[in-house]
């Protein structure tokens, strides 16, 4: 449905509100796909830029949250075909998907090593497992919130989450990934 777009400052305020409310979910969806923080941030920014352009045309989005998550999922999938994915590499600060903004004492090195192993194991999990674990542990979402976001019921969330965690724990044990130092 098309209508005359509201003035730019009103649109910008709405846009920032939507960003504040949904950007973490968008990031989590992209992160669950690629397990890479920089890629997830890029996908998040691109998703919101597309939202802005969509609003600029006067197109009414009835459910912005669903729209954003759908676009983020599509963009995350398209990322596989992009040139950066084919040719690029991670900058040194994010090798192994672990950001290094602090000094690197021994404890920190061990922790990064554990995270890198965990990341490898998570990459082997099914996409659905990664998504539900990311929503639960990155965003601290409760069962009800996850159910609403994934459009499934609470029992299904319990089941999926429990199985995903079990699979992860089994693989971690098999790979010998220990607890944090």
């Amino acid at each position: 449905m098309k209508s005359k777009p509201p003035p730019a400052d009103v649109r910008r305020a709405d846009f920032e509100q939507l960003y504040e409310r949904h950007s973490r979910e968008v990031w989590a969806v992209a992160y669950a796909r690629w397990m890479n923080a920089d890629t997830a941030s890029d996908v998040m920014q691109e998703t919101f830029l597309r939202l802005w352009k969509q609003q600029e045309t006067g197109e009414t989005i009835l459910n912005p949250r669903a729209w954003l998550l759908r676009v983020a999922r599509n963009l995350a999938e398209d990322f596989a075909k992009s040139a950066f994915r084919r040719n690029g590499t991670s900058p040194p600060q994010t090798m192994n998907g672990v950001q290094a903004s602090e000094p690197m004492p021994l404890e920190r090195l061990e922790r990064d090593e554990t995270f890198a192993q965990l990341r490898e194991v998570m990459e082997q999990l099914p996409k659905a497992d990664r998504e539900i674990l990311t929503l639960r542990y990155a965003l601290d979402y409760e069962t009800g919130e996850i159910a609403e976001l994934l459009s499934i019921n609470a029992t299904a969330v319990h089941m999926r989450l429990s199985r995903a965690r079990q699979r992860l724990a089994d693989r971690l044990k098999r790979e010998g990934v220990g607890p944090l130092p």
Binding site: A8, R12, F15, E16, Y19, S23, R24, W27, Y31, A37, S41, M44, Q45, F48, L49, W52, E56, G97, V98, Q99, S101, R111, T114, F115, L118, R119, L133, T134, R136, Y137, A138, E142, T143, G144, A154, H158, L161, S162, R165, Q166, L168, A169, L172, K173, P179, L180
Partner: protein, 141 residues
């Protein structure tokens, strides 16, 4: 109501703690600001609706005029200078020598003809062949 999934005792606690710490380390700190939008879109709109549109129309009109003038003038120029003689066109260039006033092909008249050695032999046939003595080979007549 907080309906947190019950954890399986020891291992579950470890996995929970590990996952929480992992995601905390992965999420950007501080959280990035929303992407800039206003500066990117406004100048573009102004350009496309105002002077830019008029200018592009003028450029288009000038291009069309140039094309028309070119298509009228260029053929006239070539046809006045390089018109071939009537009748020759049909024969083609290979038959020009058979016509009486057509330019002749180049010949080697008056120039000494160089002897070309045959490849692989190294001498001219007939020049260096030795005279064979054939006595005794044939019965006397």
């Amino acid at each position: 109501m907080r309906s947190v999934v019950p954890l399986s005792q020891n291992r579950g606690d470890n996995v929970d703690g590990l996952l929480r710490a992992f995601y905390r380390a992965q999420m950007p700190h501080p959280w990035p600001k929303p992407p800039e939008t206003s500066s990117q879109t406004l100048p573009f709109r102004r350009f496309s609706r105002g002077q830019g549109a008029t200018r592009s129309r003028w450029v288009l009109a000038a291009s069309v005029a140039f094309l028309l003038a070119g298509s009228l003038l260029l053929p006239r120029r070539f046809t006045s200078q390089e018109r071939p003689e009537p009748g020759i066109e049909a024969l083609g260039t290979a038959n020009r020598n058979i016509l009486p006033d057509a330019p002749k092909m180049k010949t080697n008249e008056g120039k000494p003809v160089e002897k070309k050695q045959l490849p692989g032999l190294g001498f001219d046939e007939g020049e260096l062949l030795p005279d064979l003595d054939d006595t005794g080979l044939f019965p006397p007549k």
